[in-house]
Assembly symmetry: C2
Homo-oligomer: 379 residues x 2
């Protein structure tokens, strides 16, 4: 399968295995490496389109599983598709629903045909198979759709992992046959747990089917960072270099840097938005826990020098107050900062690769990190 | 007491008892009749300064009781005052804290000296008296401060109401003596329940003290609209016509129209923002209950023709989805619409008074109202 007409990937610079490029989609180009914020229920929690653009987001992810159950993919299709429904005219990627079937559904029975599961919302039963997942995503109308995969929890027995790889490859073939929309690219997902041989087998099998893009799935499920990076290293060399490579569900700053170092182009993760709602702000030093009493009278911005709306307008003391008072604005302002932090990081990553100073960038990135709350040195 | 230097009120048009004017404050002029959204904890729930300006808000209210308990008025003062703390450079009015001491505190003992109460947050004990209330509001630094009053729940025995009026007048005198900030106007509050004689006595006594503005308090506590309007009619004639008149805690569209008809200039109310969070959208017909199944596939804006951000960008179907999914954006988008609805109403009210078509405006306002959800006629 060649790239669908509206899509292409152009490599613009490399630094070792790290790469910078542009991924072209029907809703515009994306400079890679790129991060997608998660809009589970057709909304990146608390933010509008204008705020997403202001922090630097150009492509967002939405969850097929959630939208399939509520409000349903047919109503969204009748209302003109997901872009129009959620008022986002940039690229959208929808996952296949597979991950949530495994992580959220109350009960599931997996067979070679597909998955029967009970909704986490109301307990009603649903059937999901590769064709259902393709059909749902074609109705949603995202720019990029994902094949249904089997994502076993880790650790898993070798036989379980091997069967999941077989199913994932077989389901990818079925997905490819079922897929129709020419304005949508279908990406396949590599499984294989932490087993290098299985990772390679899965990657090579999927690469042989000729997808326009590939994802590394089955990670960020509780394994260590070292294991995660080893699995990544066992996968990426077997994926074609002329297609985007997407690491699913990974978004801690160190993980972004290390995955880019190994050749990843695309990321999504709930981390920056979820920790924001829990009062954690991402800063160059690591994190800032806004509820801490030390910020009660702190007039500094969360990250002095940051150009985000939150840092330009509010003090740590005010953000602490909003968080302790459980105000809606707390989640919103923290989310804006955290996403802006991630997008400034991605921008610096792309620049470092393009300017051939990737190694120095990594050194500086780690030199600033302490893991603890930043002090008052600046104030 | 004359107007503090930075303040003045200019009457620009009348229509019967209804009046239009401009209230000048250190943070800018306010065209009246005006509505203030409630920013209880130094934030109008979910919205930023830019969104408040976009919906038409020019003056906001914050609650002294809440801010006194958390984060405290001293930290806010040290951080440069309430305007800077919450990033609002328009006028602010703070209430005295009296109403919340009566409605929220776990226990309270009222004497002629003041009120001892237990925090609704953590049960700790506080003392509040007219001087404390003035001091707290001077630290917050709002443009308009309110005197501490006694607000008895209705119905109340005549002796209770009479004692509350005596205390309220005495406390207003003490407040006036305690008040220092020249860049802050102190308004007095008329009590008296539903008793016309007490209302008149309280209004005349306070008017004799020469405040720069007067509020009608003790209403919107469960009484009928007819009783509310009767109490208003028993109060307003005894307040000086050259000072702003503020009706506290009232904000249903009909109440706004009827209070303006009787000569009120200023309003605050949680209604538009609170019902927004509960999924009720204000529309010319009355209200739209967004969770209703009839909106599941409705591609119309909440109020077709409305110029607010929500109506320009989103369908009823999407807003229904956000509400059912309990998404933060639901509260925010609904709040934007409801406040914009109120501000378009206030703007039309001012125009109607200025253009001498107030009577016709009221007729048209009531002709469109049905109280029920709008139908699909437009779609």
């Amino acid at each position: 399968m060649a790239f669908p007409r509206a899509f292409s990937y152009r490599l613009t610079a490399t630094a070792g295995r790290a790469r910078a490029g542009v991924f072209f989609t029907p809703h515009g180009p994306i400079e890679t490496p790129a991060f997608m914020p998660v809009g589970t229920q057709a909304t990146v929690k608390g933010l509008t389109r204008e705020e997403l653009l202001a922090v630097g987001a150009r492509m967002v992810l939405a969850n097929t599983y959630h939208l399939y159950l509520r409000p349903g993919v047919d109503p969204i299709a009748r209302l003109g598709g997901l872009h129009r429904f959620m008022n986002w005219d940039g690229p959208i990627l929808t996952d296949s629903g597979g991950f949530q079937v495994y992580s959220l559904a109350d009960l599931r029975e997996v067979s070679d045909d597909g998955v029967r599961f009970r909704s986490h919302l109301d307990g009603s039963e649903f059937w999901f198979d590769p064709e259902t997942a393709v059909d749902a995503q074609e109705k949603l109308g995202a720019d990029v759709a994902m094949t249904l995969d089997e994502c076993p929890p880790l650790p898993a027995a070798p036989a379980v992992l091997a069967r999941a790889v077989d199913r994932t490859v077989n389901w990818a073939e079925r997905s490819l046959r079922a897929h129709r929309r020419p304005d949508q690219a279908l990406f396949a997902i590599v499984q294989g747990g932490l087993d290098p041989a299985l990772r390679r087998r899965c990657a090579e099998s999927l690469a042989g089917l000729g997808f326009p893009g590939y994802a590394v799935g089955g990670l960020s499920v509780g394994e260590s960072r070292a294991d995660r990076l080893a699995a990544l290293e066992a996968t990426l060399p077997y994926l074609p270099g002329d297609r985007p490579r997407y690491l699913m569900g990974v978004g801690a700053p160190e993980d972004l840097v290390e995955a880019v170092e190994r050749g990843v182009d695309l990321f999504d993760c709930v981390l920056p938005t979820r920790v924001a709602r829990n009062g954690l702000l991402l800063v160059p030093e690591g994190k800032l826990t806004i509820k801490n009493a030390r910020y009660a009278a702190d007039s500094l911005a969360p990250e002095p020098g940051c150009d985000c709306y939150t840092c330009r307008n509010f003090s740590r003391a005010y953000l602490r107050h909003l968080y302790l008072a459980r105000e809606i604005l707390s989640a919103r302002l923290n989310t804006i900062h955290n996403l802006r932090y991630i997008y400034r990081l991605m921008s610096r990553i792309r620049e470092a690769i393009a300017a051939d100073r990737w190694g120095r960038f990594r050194e500086e990135f780690y030199a600033r990190r302490s893991g603890s709350d930043p002090g008052h040195e600046e104030g």
